[in-house]
Each structure stands twice: as C-alpha cells, then as structure tokens.
Amino acid sequence: MRKGSFFIKLVLSVFVLAALSGCGYNTMQKNEEGVKAAWGDVEATYQRRNDLIPNLVEVVKAYAKHEKETLTAVTEARAKVGAMQVPKNIIDDPKAFSQFQEAQAGMSSALSRLMVVVERYPDLKANQNFKDLQHQLEGTENRINVARTRYNKAVEVFNTSIRIFPNNLTNKFLLHLSLKEPFKAEPGAAKAPQVKF
C-alpha cells in the first residue's frame, strides 16, 4: 500500500514538473517566434541588397557601356525578386520557400557575374562611388550570410524542439506546428561575390 501511494505521488510530481517546465509548450512557442524573427532578418537583408542594386547599376553603366547584357541580367533578376509575392507563411510553405531561394540565388549569380565584368574597367574600380558601393554590397552580402546562418540555427532549434519527447505529444495534440524549412547551401547563393583588386 505504502509503495503504491508513493508511486502515485512520484508520477504526480513528475507531471507537475513537466507542467512546470511547460511540457515544451512554451519552449516551442518561443522557438517558433525565434524562427519568425530570424526570417524577418533574412528578408530585410535581402531587401537591403535589392535596394542597393539600382545605384550599383547606374555607376557601372557610366563606365562600362558595353556590358549591356550583364547589366540587363542584374536588372532582370532584381525585377524578378521584386515582383515575387512572398506569402506570409512562407516559412511553413516549402514550395514558396524554394521559389524565394531560387529567385535570390539568381540575383546572387547575376551580381557575381557583374563583379567579374567590372574587373576589366580600372577606371571604374578607382571610382570612389564604386568603392563605396562595393563596401556596401560586401557588407550586405555578409549580413545575408549571417542572417541565413542564424535563421537555419533557429529552424534547427525549433524543428528539434517539436520532435523530441514530450514536446512532440504537446505539439500533436495542442499546437499543430509544422517543421520549418531551412536554407540549403547553393553554389550561387552561399558564396558572396568575391571582389579582388
């Protein structure tokens, strides 16, 4: 008898404990907010890059008139990214997510081609405006990398937290959260355009 009542108490206290640490409920909510915040940063940094491009194109145009093709490719890639409708729940939507990633990767590769072309124009490279833009572009690419890495980390934490026990039960019966999409490394997108003097 004694043993039995002790066991009940033990089970009860385990449950109280689980409830105290939230049975993962709060953790999962917090982690999802973490993913959303990290995604916000990703979008903002990509937007920042997009805002930079018209200036860059203008400066390059002034010196490198013959590189119409490359410039057009950059402008088109930018237009494509700009025209894209990013749905609110993109981080839950693998299809929209991969579209977003693809468009941004197109932008990245168009930009890196432009940066290669620029190598042929020493006057342009010496231009102070261009140097400034280059720093801004490098900084932006770096921010994108940082934001993507942080987003992936947040996704990893979140995805783990909804899959481990006992959180998976809480999620199954209460929260119904789905796994979030991480960025996959891509040859074009993962690497910032290398600009060497």
Binding site: K9, Q136, F165
Partner: protein, 290 residues
C-alpha cells in the same frame, strides 16, 4: 526500472547543448594582440583611449589581432568572435570589433547592430581603405591602429551616452538551476525510496555538484555546507513522501522551502575583469586587406 528510465529520458531532454566555434581566443581587454603587432607603449595608449571612450560614451571598441585565419573567412571569424565576446552593452548593441589577421593581411571592422546607423559599412570601409591601409602598407602597424581607432572614436562620438539605461526586456525564463534542482529532488526521492542512505549520498553529492556547475564555482566551505544540506534533504525528503496521508500538506510547505529557499540567488556573469556586455551583431561592417 521503468521509472528510472523515464527519469533519464526527461533528464536528457533538459541537457543544454552549446555549440562552440573552434578558435576564438580569450577576451583579455580592449587590446587583444595575439599576433604581436602592437608595441607595448602603443597598447597602453590604445587601452587608455578605449577605456576613456567607454566611460564617456559607453561604446565598447575592442581590438583583436591573430597570427593567421587558418583558412577561415575573416567575415565568418569576425562574426564568430563577436558572438562569443558579446562586445557592447545589452540593449544598446554598441560594440565594435577591429580584427586584423597578420598572415593573410586582412582587416575587418565588425559593427554592432546599434551602431550600424552611424558607422555604416561605407564608413567602416572608408576607414579601412583611407586611414588604416596606407599605414599598414608601410608596416606602420602602431600608427595604423592609432589612426583607425581615433577615426572610429570620432565617428562614434555622441552616438551613445554612458549611464543611459537601455530598455530592458524582462526575461521570464525558468532558470536552469531550478529545473536541475527539481530533478535532483526527484532523483533523491527515487533513490531514497530504495534506501535512505542512498538518498542521503545522492543529496550530499548532487547539491554541491549542481551549485558548482550551474551557479558558480564556490569555495570548499560552501561545498561542505551544501553537502550537509543535501545529506539532510536526502534523508528527510523521502520520509516525508512516505508519511501517512494526513501529513501530506506538511511536506508541501517543506518542499517549497527546500526547493526554492536554498536557491543561491541570481547568476553572476563574468567573474571580474574585462568582459563584453551582451551586445549583438548582425554582420555589419567592412573588410579590407593591405
């Protein structure tokens, strides 16, 4: 058996995992000259200037020189160092990390989020290109550091004031110490239900270990004191659970006293010396080489 198994699973769920980068050196002060590029007289001059600047403006600028990046990208290393050291103050995010890698001849200025408005990537790039680089090219490292730091200081002056309280968000986390303490209690109960002596031993070993690992390394006297407390708890706690039903209310009060009363108060972060203040970085800044 099953209970013990369940307990371990629960315990595993709570083990914090930390990811460490490989080779960010220790933060020793304003000037961390691991590559040996800065003269000692220059170093003390720089440290004085940076300390003065932090006292007046609260913005933290830290210099790091490393012998080699060992194949790593300076941008990646920079953000890693910034995340580890957390330069700048929490809520203001006003830290700047000035990194130089000697072998690769690379320079990077890593700018905290709070300073990105004033010290834009463009400004940081200009400081590198126009102020630091020419001096470094002539192997005048001392001059380069002094000129670069004074350019940074004059750019940042007035952005933040010392003593200004940043907006603090309230943290409502369940402190890890308490979670572990609760689990320790359960553990003692399980062992104590088998034998009181086992419970006592678990308490005597567990409590000091817990405090030592999660709160702060304490002295031997406190360890002994905690061991005694744990021993007492290990003996006492199970017997309360075994008490007949009518005394159930009593154990609750005591349980509360045990669990929360002996909590050692808040954590102490950074036991003296120089440390970052929890500033965050978003990858802003600029790089260059010489």
């Amino acid at each position: 058996m099953k209970r013990v198994f369940l307990f371990f699973i629960l315990l595993l769920c709570c083990v914090p995992f930390t990811a460490y980068g490989l080779d960010v050196p220790r933060l020793e002060g304003y000037v961390n000259d691991y590559a040996g590029m800065i003269h000692s007289s220059t170093k003390s001059k720089l440290e004085e200037a940076l300390r003065g600047f932090e006292q007046s403006d609260s913005t933290q600028i830290v210099i790091l020189t490393i012998p080699s990046l060992e194949g790593e990208n300076i941008e990646e290393f920079g953000i890693k160092a910034a995340e580890r050291w957390k330069i700048g103050h929490q809520g203001k995010d006003n830290g700047i990390l000035f990194i130089v890698s000697k072998q690769e001849r690379k320079i990077r200025i890593e700018v905290g989020r709070g300073l990105e408005g004033k010290l834009t990537d463009l400004m940081a790039g200009r400081i590198i290109d126009q102020i630091v680089k020419p001096k470094f090219k002539q192997s005048d490292f001392d001059g380069g550091f002094i000129a670069g730091i004074s350019a940074l200081i004059s750019t940042m002056r007035g952005e933040f004031k010392a003593g200004q309280k940043p907006v603090q968000r309230k943290q409502r986390n369940f402190p890890p110490f308490l979670t572990f303490l609760l689990f320790l209690g359960i553990f003692i109960l399980i062992l104590g239900s088998l034998s009181r002596i086992l419970g006592g031993i678990a308490g005597a070993l567990g409590l000091p270990a817990l405090v030592y690992l999660t709160v702060l390394p304490v002295g031997i006297l406190i360890v002994i004191f905690l061991a005694l407390v744990g021993l007492g708890a290990g003996f006492f706690l199970p017997s309360l659970f075994f008490a007949k039903g009518s005394r159930g209310g009593g154990y609750r009060d005591h349980g509360g006293g045990f669990f929360f009363g002996s909590g050692m108060g808040g954590h102490s972060i950074g036991g003296g010396g120089f440390s970052g203040g929890g500033g965050s970085f978003g990858g802003g800044g600029a790089s260059g080489d010489w």
